[in-house]
Amino acid sequence: MDLFANLALGFDTAFTLQNLLYCLIGCVLGTLIGVLPGLGPIATIAMLLPATYALPPIAALIMLAGIYYGSQYGGSTTAILLNIPGETSSVVTAIDGYQMARNGRAGVALFTAGTASFFAGCVATLILAAFAAPLSQLAFKFGPAEYFSLMVLGLIGAVVLASGSLIKAIGMIILGLLMGLIGTDVNSGVSRYAFDIPELSDGIGFVAVAMGVFGFAEIMGNLEKTGDDEGFLNKLTTMVPTKTDLKRMIPSILRGTTIGSILGILPGGGAALAAFGAYSVEKKSSKYSHEFGKGAIEGVAGPEAANNAAAQTSFIPLLTLGIPPNAVMALMVGAMTIHNIQPGPQVMTSNPALFWGLIASMWIGNVMLILLNLPLIGIWVKLLKIPYRFLYPAILVFCCIGVYTVNNTVFDVYVTAGFGLIGYLFFKLGCEPPPLLLGFVLGPMMEENFRRALLLSRGDFTTFLTRPLSLGLLIAAALLVVIVALPAVKKTREEAFAEED
């Protein structure tokens, strides 16, 4: 078994004072910047990338990996405390995490997110070390038809994210898909729905949509209510979870880790789908499913574990195939090429110290993050004690600055303001935005794979049914529809019976 020899080499590389220091710097910077609303992992890495140019290659990659995890932790913190998700996966954390914070359980929510991420990160790092090569073969089995079917499954799963009407949630998903299509079509170069506005030809930014629909709309909704100012701020409790909390979160963390590790490997929507998928599983399997959307601890533990596990295993396609599965990994490719490393299968053989050093540093990074973040929870929670009349202008300031820095254009500020209005309308009409964001992220990928699959099958739509893996995914999606629809049917029947009594 080479695994231990390899890991020993990795820890040898990572455990130099210099590399440990860069890992720590990366984690600290990542957390501090990631906690600012609107600055997600992509923005944080892009901002700090130049700072790593001068470092030796291994130190640079270790520091970037640290920044990546740090900003993810930071992003979950803002999602839980302020309901402002900085990236796709924390959209899910925000659903129940923010409700927990409103119930005075912000500390417990942050503690759960931290431990879930830590556990999942450790397990996924081991998976990465042991199965990197064989697992990358899984990605090869996925053709365009399989990706399309996987996304259908993921989107159907996202319906579960909404606690209200099923059909309205499906509408929100499709709306998200449509909004994702705005911008230049990659196949033909035609600018769609841009109406000759140059800024729109690159599409709408995720950050603008998320901050508008969640952050701004939430602020307007809160201001309407009278006497809410002190509402959820005074009943803060400790960060120590109760025995029941622990009992409820542990199985969720285990399930989330499994889902995240598997989906993280798939290029494309894998990591984003992981958190959504884990939430769906938790909501469906939990006996507390009525608590979801109102602050269920499983709704934080499962998705956070999945999200972090996927963050680790998404390194697999990058390190073994050289394919960046998402935007963050694409930035990592950029960083590797700057240091003259060609990402791909040869990294493992030609530069084993780098490969295993990076893997070892992932584990070290996770340890550092939990040590760093547990004491910080107390400080973050205190932020909620700031009276709302001071807090919400501050949130607006950070959002405005954050959204401006993504592309250095005020156009994005106006887009965010527009989505604030749209989010307010959704709120009044009882349309829940989380499914919209998943659709928004998957829209372009879904169209591309749909077109590619049909191109390969020469326009034959049965291609989605004749390929076994694709058929399996579609059957799973159909089953999910039935499972999701059943309780609704049962509930209306129960209500009907209740009326008769």
Binding site: I33, M47, S165, I167, K168, G171, I174, L175, L177, L178, L181, S188, V190, R192, Y193, F216, M220, L223, E224, T226, D229, P387, Y388, R389, F390, Y392, P393, A394, L396, V397, F398, C400, I401, Y404, T405, N408, V410, V413, Y414, T416, A417, G420, L421, Y424, L425, K428, L429, G430, C431, E447, F450, R451, L454, L455, S457, R458, G459, D460, F461, T492
Partner: protein, 153 residues
Amino acid sequence: MKIRNQRDFGAGIMYMVIGLFFAIIARQYQYGTAAKMGPGYFPFWLGMLMAAIGLLVLVRSMNAKAAIETIPKFNWRIILQITGAVVLYGLLLPRMGFLVAVVVLVFVAASASKEFTWKGTAINAAFLVTFTYSVFVVGLKLQFPLLPVFLQQ
């Protein structure tokens, strides 16, 4: 037929309008065939699907068994103040610079609160300007227009 669920009725109309809007615009783009799809193919059908779902939501809102729900009132003053504050920030940033834009944003936004006080807001604005300036401009070295145009050399 009576609209029992106003919120669903509104959502249904919204879905239909958006779906038809996307589908109609998609007609301007090349449609292509299933094997060789043009840029209009996918958005057209997605838009139609959206409109169909809108219709379904609409019809169900008038169902005799639909829950009775009314659309809560819109608070236009708050909408105007919050959205206006953000738009003002966007307008002021390139013209008057970072510092002015942030201060105006804080004051306009804070005035939407029932507990607005000039003193408290001034302290908040001063704190936020100092904090964001040191984090974003000094610390992260992000590029902002800092001073009003007429003060720049």
